[in-house]
């Protein structure tokens, strides 16, 4: 995974600093170019089939309804040359786990046909303890020729606190048990002692057990299909294609970088926890290589919010993929030859043992992706040639709710509600971000149907809808996000409800080139309301303001509470950032947004300076006056830092 440590130059690939070779021409060697395209596409299709197998075998709504999973294919050395189109960071972490297994099992137990390994150890390669990596070697006539891997986010793997966030942990010893790589299947036979040891530690053995089978099934399908391919086309051809995929991606990626301006772009993102932890990145692009320097990021916390170095490297690549790799095969191994990631051990994005990382994928590594993405978006904004591919910041802080209790059927249950993955996308250069457009980490993000959630868990949604004014204002605005309101249903209490997010005090989805950022993540409960009386009377209050009660506001970014039948819970996820000064937005676009209910009349006047009358028409004269007034306010309220001698750069 990239070069480790600080200061080492990025490993250079075949094309160096000169003119990049045509994509993959040298790499595919003797393979016919048409056959190369067919087989490289086939390898992607194998990933798709592995992922769908995993999804169908898993009973977990996390995999089945929210696609919080992914798969990857690796070469014999563990270099990942093809990833599935789900949560990218899951696959980007597989390579480090395979490389560890190759060392760890070389002399003791060995690696043989039909073996499957698993690990949730973040200091080996897992993104955090909940993202269990299952990997399997692919053999052909007794020779190791590659690896498949799969990951599904788990809802509970033990530890003092139910679910993901180990509240109160001061090191990794207060978090979920670690499984360094272990052999779960040996020569095609599941080792029941190992499986039982794994499942003994979770509060949800049935669900976690099924997910384990699902991940093994995903690996089995991947391995079998690669073997089919070798049987049909021969090992030498498939090997050449595997090597060619990464080389082609490297060549295309270096060519893409060479088209972009040289420079340095920086961002500071923030993680709210017991203190505020800045994730600072300086991205320097020179010629056809890219350096991400995170060394100025905050020192690590004791536990919970950090991520390990493999997760930070994966998080960086997870941002590069959607911003720069829209027309090439997603081969992390190819990309990483042109990318260097510098980190400082002991920091929030490069945890030093034994710091805890239980929430890493929504804190340290999530912010590493967002911060890298902001830099990449500003680099794209600096060239007319690639303006079509510009995207402002996507949902810059993911909210998740873990819940545990007795469900409507009287059974113990645990769940992760992932509706906030609907997020909101960043503005494009000439169009708005998509409302509830998802998030950067997954090209296939979806959220569960309300009916599926209500069937599985004791909840009744009162509403789930686009929340106006949550996308960042700009000439092109960021996508708005969702607001959700629900009560518990058919149970006396939801005893354990853990709400956690970053971006509760500040908006993570920053705007670009004069645009505003998105909203912040928000969660509140109105206690002891009249909601039951309203429902009994046939009314359905869809907004928390429509019920009477006492509003409880949670000041911390992580909060543990319970919910009673009269309590109404509301959360607002995070939208996307905008692009360019909103005073330049075409008033007709603002008018259309007001008519659609995605921008309010008040926000239209405040942020865009557009006055929309009660009949829905734009008052042009009033708009001109309002915009002049805003510009005048800008002039009167601001000063030049260089003149005033303000501190800073």
């Amino acid at each position: 995974m990239g070069s480790s440590g600080n200061g080492a130059p990025p490993p250079m690939g075949s094309s160096g600093n000169g003119a990049p070779a045509p994509a993959g021409s040298a790499a595919i060697g003797a393979v016919d170019p048409v056959l190369f395209e067919i087989l490289s596409s086939r390898l992607s299709a194998i990933n798709d089939e592995s992922a769908m197998t995993m999804r169908l075998v898993s009973g977990s709504p996390v995999a089945n309804e929210a696609y919080d999973m992914n798969v990857g294919l690796m070469d014999a050395d563990g270099e990942c040359f093809a990833i599935g189109m789900y949560i990218t960071i899951h696959s980007l972490a597989l390579s480090a786990t395979v490389k560890d297994i190759k060392r760890r099992f070389a002399d003791n137990l060995g690696i043989g046909p039909g073996d499957v390994f698993m690990s949730n150890d973040p200091y080996v390669g897992a993104c955090h303890q909940m993202d269990v990596a299952v990997v399997a070697p692919i053999f052909w006539e007794g020779e190791l020729v590659g690896w498949t891997g799969s990951t599904v986010h788990q809802i509970d793997l033990g530890g003092p606190v139910e679910g993901q966030v180990q509240i109160g942990a001061t090191s990794i010893w207060g978090e979920q048990p670690l499984f360094p790589p272990i052999k779960i299947v040996e020569a095609g036979r599941t080792r029941s002692d190992v499986e039982q040891g794994y499942l003994r530690r979770t509060r949800l053995p049935h669900l976690v057990g099924l997910d384990l089978r699902a991940m093994i099934a995903g690996c089995n399908v991947g391995a079998a299909r690669v073997q089919d391919l070798i049987g049909r086309y021969g090992l030498d051809t498939v090997r050449a294609v595997i090597a060619g995929v990464s080389s082609a991606t490297e060549a295309r990626f270096r060519a893409r970088l060479a088209e972009l301006p040289d420079g340095t772009w920086s961002h500071r993102g923030y993680i709210e926890y017991d203190d505020v932890y800045p994730v600072v990145v300086e991205m320097t692009k020179r010629g056809d290589s890219l350096v991400f320097d995170f060394t100025k990021s905050a020192d690590q916390a004791g536990a919970v919010i950090n991520c390990t170095r493999p997760a930070c490297v994966g998080a960086t690549v997870a941002a590069v993929l959607p911003y720069l790799c829209f027309d090439m095969a997603w081969s992390p191994a190819g990309l990483q030859r042109a990318i260097e990631v510098r980190t400082r051990e002991g920091s929030v994005v490069h945890a030093a043992w034994p710091a805890g990382v239980s929430k890493a994928t929504t804190t340290g590594s999530f912010m590493a992706t967002i911060a890298s993405g902001v830099c990449l978006s500003k680099m794209l904004a600096a060239t007319e040639d690639h303006l079509d591919h510009f995207m402002s910041t996507w949902m810059g802080g993911l909210y998740v709710e873990d819940m545990f209790g007795i469900d409507q059927r009287g059974n113990f249950f645990g769940a992760a509600i992932l509706d906030a993955m609907a997020g909101g996308s960043g503005a494009r250069a000439r169009s708005d971000g998509l409302d509830a457009g998802g998030f950067l980490d997954s090209p296939s993000a979806i959220i569960a149907n309300i009916e599926d959630i209500e069937y599985s868990y004791p909840l009744l949604y009162l509403s789930r809808r686009i929340q106006a004014d949550t996308g960042g204002a700009g000439r092109y605005r960021g996508g708005n996000t969702l607001a959700m309101t629900y009560v518990i249903h058919d149970v006396d209490e939801l005893p354990t409800k853990i709400m956690h997010a970053i971006g509760t005090c500040q908006p993570g989805s920053i705007g670009v080139a004069g645009a505003y950022p998105s909203n912040t993540n928000q969660f509140v409960i109105k206690r002891g309301t009249n909601v039951r009386a309203l429902l009994d009377g046939g009314a359905v209050p869809t907004h928390i303001d429509e019920v009477d009660g006492e509003l409880e506001i949670f000041a911390d970014s992580i909060a543990r509470t319970s919910q009673r039948p009269d309590d109404v819970y509301r959360y607002v996820a995070m939208g996307g950032g905008g692009y360019l000064d909103p005073l330049d937005r075409d008033p007709r676009r603002v008018q259309a947004d007001v008519i659609d209910g995605v921008v309010t009349v008040a926000h239209a006047a405040e942020a865009y300076g557009v006055v929309v009358a009660s009949d829905g028409t734009v008052d042009s004269e009033a708009t001109e006056a309002r915009r002049a007034e805003i510009r005048d306010q800008r002039r009167r309220s601001a000063a030049v830092p260089a003149m005033a001698g303000a501190a800073g750069a």
Partner: protein, 122 residues
């Protein structure tokens, strides 16, 4: 023509290249943060939008810094920062004919960029 983005172009070349607003207003040399040459307004983070920390759970820890062109008053950037943090130098184009070592002040964004603001609780 080189540019930081659609609103800030770069005029000239080599060591003498300068940031210029779309209106023609000079915004300083490329070896300096353009924000230092813009108008800046710093206010509560809630200035960033109607749904930004509406219950003020973050107290006054975070601020919203808005930067405007002194010429045409176009908003050039909206920066979210902890109170007291240095300005973020968010975009720095390197000109093709720029001499080596014209980077400007080393460490423009830290390590103080990662430090806690004064008066914050440990």
């Amino acid at each position: 023509m080189a540019r930081l983005n659609e609103q800030i172009e770069i005029a000239g070349g080599g060591a003498g290249a300068r940031h210029v607003c779309r209106c023609g207003r000079d915004l300083g040399p490329v070896t300096e943060n353009y924000k230092r040459h813009a108008l800046m307004r710093e206010g509560p983070v809630q200035n960033a939008g109607p749904w930004v920390d509406p219950h003020s759970i973050g107290g006054d820890r975070f601020v919203c810094r808005q930067f405007f062109c002194p010429g045409c008053l176009t908003q050039l950037d909206v920066e979210i920062a902890q109170r007291g943090e240095p300005l973020l130098w968010d975009a720095r184009i390197r000109m093709p004919d720029e001499p080596e070592g014209a980077e400007g002040p080393e460490g423009a964004n830290g390590p103080e960029g990662a430090s806690k603001p004064e008066g914050s609780e440990g």
